[in-house]
């Protein structure tokens, strides 16, 4: 009798742990989504800037706001910088996609594990009730 109840308690502890892990995973997934959103917005903006820069004449003045300072920049340099930034953001997005996949898989497997533990608990309780 006591052995089965300790086993039951262990199972319940196990269930709690798994539930905590699952909630952590879900938070990670939510954060991932947020960061992805931010990056996507930035990517869109940078592409717009690139388009406008392409429309500028060669000798047009381009400035960059760095803190409180507006610094004059070369058009070619500005173009290069914006392109590099676009590449960087796309790479980041891809990386985030990969990690999102991982997290989702882990979440899925955690859910299944939780389900199994729950089933075991139920069978234990049913066994106890019978006995």
């Amino acid at each position: 009798m006591s052995s089965s109840s300790t086993a039951l308690r262990e199972l319940q502890r196990d269930l709690e742990n798994k539930a905590n892990d699952l909630s952590k995973l879900q938070k990670d997934i939510a954060k991932n989504h947020q960061v992805r959103k931010k990056y996507t917005i930035q990517l869109g903006e940078n592409e717009l800037v690139l388009k406008e820069l392409d429309l500028l004449k060669e000798d047009a003045n381009v400035y960059k706001l760095i803190g409180p300072v507006l610094v004059k920049q070369d058009l070619a340099e500005a173009n290069a910088n914006v392109r590099k930034r676009i590449e960087y953001i796309s790479a980041e997005l891809k990386r985030l996609d990969g990690s999102l996949q991982d997290l989702e898989e882990k979440q899925h497997s955690k859910r299944e594990a939780i389900l199994k533990v729950q089933q075991r608990i139920q069978s234990h309780q049913a066994g106890k009730a019978k006995a």
Partner: protein, 409 residues
Amino acid sequence: MGKPEVKGTVTPLSSMFPPEEVQKAAKLVEEKLSEKRNEMSQLKEFIADNTSLINLVQKLPDELHHDIMVPFGKAAFFPGRLIHTNEFLVLLGESYYADRTAKQTVDILKRRGKSLMSKVDALKAEMQDLKAEASFFDSTASEVAEDLVEIREYEEDNSNQSESQSGPTELESPTLAETDHKMDSKMGASKDDEYARLMSRLEELEKEELAAENGEIDEDEDEDEDEDANATETDGDENELTEAAFHRKKDEGYSSLDHGQRFSESQPTRQLQQSKGKEAMREEISNKYNHQDLTNQFSCTGLTAEPLTKGEMSCGRIIHQDKMLNPSVNASVPSENVSLNQNIHDSSRNEKPVQTSKSKFDSSKAFTGSIVEHTENLEKKTPGQNTTPSESSGSKPSKPVSRFKMQRK
């Protein structure tokens, strides 16, 4: 046509769609809809600001310098002058600025306005989808509340099979109208065997319709065929309704058999010539055609839309579909030859006006088949459909928060 065997199941709708869940789903959709409305109002604000800015930028170079009150700190102004009125430092985005003239600035602003408008359009489309979903849920909820029952009957007609779902007809027709809209957007590729089935069904029904119509005009009623039609149709009420509508809409004689025969022998090119220029109908008809595919084995009365699409070949999409249809039509035609021959003398009268009437006929035709909803499919499809557009445009609606909006604000 052999004697149809009828097997059936009767399931109350409330067991298929539990009412609480339907209400929950409806609420979720409502929330999403209100979110979209907020975004829409924000975008509209942006657009208004943009246009007022364009006006200002266009007015400034009118003077060499403007006398203004210059803001100074948080709560003070001093009188000053605005000079170099044609030079603007424009924010391009991501903390990049460029010197531009007034005209160039106006161009930049107009381009921004255009992108905003396209976002508004995308948002409107999403909202429409959501609204359709919401109305669908509402109607399902009301149906469930009224304890509607889904009746399914399976007819075995040689190789044909058809299902039908019936409830109070008046409730079905509004939902049909809604599902029409949804089916329009949701229809994907169509399947050949459905075509075959629908085609054979169509041939039978057209024969009946034609006979009935000829009966009206020539007093040559073919009651057996009508009875057959009604017997094989399981929702008789709807049939009569739609058949009546069908007859109302038929202005001139229409020989389905002409279509069938021509279709089996000839190329679409002939029909191309006949019905050029009916672009609007084309879309509508192809959509109705799609309905038939989606309503998957449902019994349809007067599936005249199908031969219609054969006639409306001006659209690439329909041509594509028709190409898929062709083989199945050829397959089904032999089985229908008997019924075809029967009606040839009936339709000979109709052959003359057919040529000229085809286009007119097409415009007067509407899909009068009984579109019966397969609501589970729709439910599964609509959430699926809605998530994908929202994902794809997910970045866009959040963009309005971008730094394009006055940094100084």
